[in-house]
């Protein structure tokens, strides 16, 4: 059972870059773990942007800027493109993010976030650019993400939007259920399908 999801209100960490790929979120050399140790992955989130080649902190990177903190990551268009590595979602969750807001997510990464109880919230480009501006003006800008009502609100400007999520996944997130519980519960249906359909040996 994972942490149940309801309403999150938090300050944000802004990452106004487009096409942030999962190789940046967690570089390949950290994929050799054989356990799902979220602390390990969280510690290495954005590793090569957070640290210089000599291992020192890159003070210019937003995660190292004490002005910004919170449970919400706000990212530019096409977040999570590239590799399917779920380690990227583990790193985001392990760092302590519970929501990622962007105007566009890559498909596989979006599923990976959902399967790890991190909520990807798709907003309009206008909402996103206004939110980046709000955070830039006031790093204490808070955002409220209301899953039951499917709304996201920039509390600095009051701007609010509806976001999409299917009813099944919303129910899973709010009740701490995962897909495997569901699938294992209907094996008879699967066996019946196999009887009726097998063409491919």
């Amino acid at each position: 059972m994972k942490q149940k999801f309801n309403i999150i209100q938090s300050t944000c960490i802004p990452l106004p870059l487009e096409n942030v790929d999962t190789d940046q979120i967690i570089p390949a050399r950290f994929l050799k773990a054989t356990t799902r140790d979220e602390k390990f992955f969280g510690d290495n989130l954005f590793r090569d942007w957070r640290y210089n080649a000599d291992g020192s902190l890159n003070k210019d990177f937003v995660l190292n800027n004490p002005l910004y903190k919170g449970e919400i990551l706000v990212a530019g268009k096409n977040f999570g493109s590239g590799s399917s590595r779920e380690h990227a979602a583990w790193a985001i969750a392990g760092y302590g993010f519970r929501v990622v807001i962007s105007c566009f997510f890559a498909d596989i990464h979006k599923n990976n976030e959902l399967n790890n109880f991190v909520l990807p919230v798709v907003v309009s480009e206008e909402f996103l650019s206004e939110l980046f501006a709000s955070i830039n003006e006031n790093p204490n800008t808070e955002v409220k993400v209301d899953l039951p009502n499917q709304t996201v609100t920039n509390l600095s400007t009051g701007r609010s939007e509806h976001f999409d999520i299917n009813g099944y996944k919303k129910h899973c997130l709010m009740n701490g259920l995962d897909d495997i519980d569901f699938l294992v519960g209907n094996k008879e249906k699967i066996a019946a399908y196999e009887m009726a359909h097998r063409q491919n040996g």
């Binding site: 190789d23 390949a28 054989t34 080649a53 399917s84 599923n111 569901f182 699967i190």
Partner: protein, 469 residues
Amino acid sequence: MNTLFEKIWDSHIVQNISDGPTQLYIDRLYCHEVTSPQAFAGMRERGLKCFRPGQIFCMPDHNTPTHDQDKPIEDPVSKTQVDTLAKNAADFGLTHFGMMDKRNGIIHVVGPERGLSLPGMTIVCGDSHTSTHGALGAVAFGIGTSEVEMVMASQCILQQKPKSMRINIEGTLGKGVTAKDMALYLMSKLTTSGATGYFIEYAGEAVRNLTMEGRLTLCNLSIEMGARGGFIAPDEVTFAYIKGREYTPKGEGWDKALAYWKTLKSDDDAVFDKELTFRAEKIEPMITYGTNPGMGMGVSESIPSLESMDEAGRASFKKSLEYMGFEAGEKLLEKKIDYVFLGACTNGRIEDFRAFASIVKGRKKADNVVAWLVPGSWMVDAQIREEGLDKVLEEAGFAIRQPGCSACLAMNDDKVPAGKYAVSTSNRNFEGRQGPGSRTILASPLTAAACAVTGVITDPRELETSLAL
């Protein structure tokens, strides 16, 4: 009036969950060592067995060294991951092609060449380049580790049905232009998010005329346009390729399967959510200049200007060029390079080695270039030797390494050093992809070969012309 995608998808629906995803039946699950251990661990925690172990095939490929595979892996962490896969496969009763098994290689090279990936199938793997298997006329897509566990537990996955897109490439590819260039061209037009949310069917004369190897390359790169997957309807090229392979049905089974496979095409009046058409003649040999595969251009063209980018994309564009050490507006022809990598699930097949050999034959590797030539599998390695390509390559100063993913993502010790330029036939030029600080220029095997013998960015057609003269 259905698309082929819909026909295959619909025939695999176990149930549609109301206001939710589809429960989709999966014919084939491939597992490699990187994205499977946590799924196996989850199965153990839940006390589950694999629901259909006969439909799951495992092999290590990402961590495998490309030399001395008969000896234990030196990196203890890599060794643990590879050993863990072997143990998991044994514990759960799954087929495993271990290192040094003649069937081992990159999972997306091995699946098709063993006849494991067949038309009309649904195929998944915890690897975004699973789209490769679409070349056989299958619905194949990459998934996360939680989803791998779903398939182990139930042979099903919960997925939202993607939209459908058809990309037609009409006409004939020019000399020196390959399937890789076709894909890099499409990415440069669509960007890395242009096909997100879609499943692509590739069609048109230029696609039909591709060999199976070319089709595998094209479908492999579907994910780099953001697509869930990409496929090509099966035809005589497909059937000729799969006939007689190890796991392909034989005898009566073949006749029955073939009759079914021949029905696998989009109806003439099928409606796609999006349809795009391109001309093959417009495609040049392509290279990338930035840090995502959509940042590509004809090898003789100039990098776009900052002003041509939209406002929101400028920060990423600038960061990207800074990383690469390139200026907006400059040409890359004649720029010095340091490394050449031939291989990966994108271009590690026999035809790619033939293409590379055709350019380097009678020439010599440039002294300033370190070249890694890595076959996609032991089967490809055997073909290279049967055809005598190893001699041609060795005479030109190139050595053939042992199979694996290698420098595509540098999880083994094939790492491009920081700041060095690598012309690579792989699929991603992301920051640090080929090693921390590495700078990747994606290209076809022909272009990579031309760069390998000149030591600078070179249009392969220049060398072909000189050969002809």
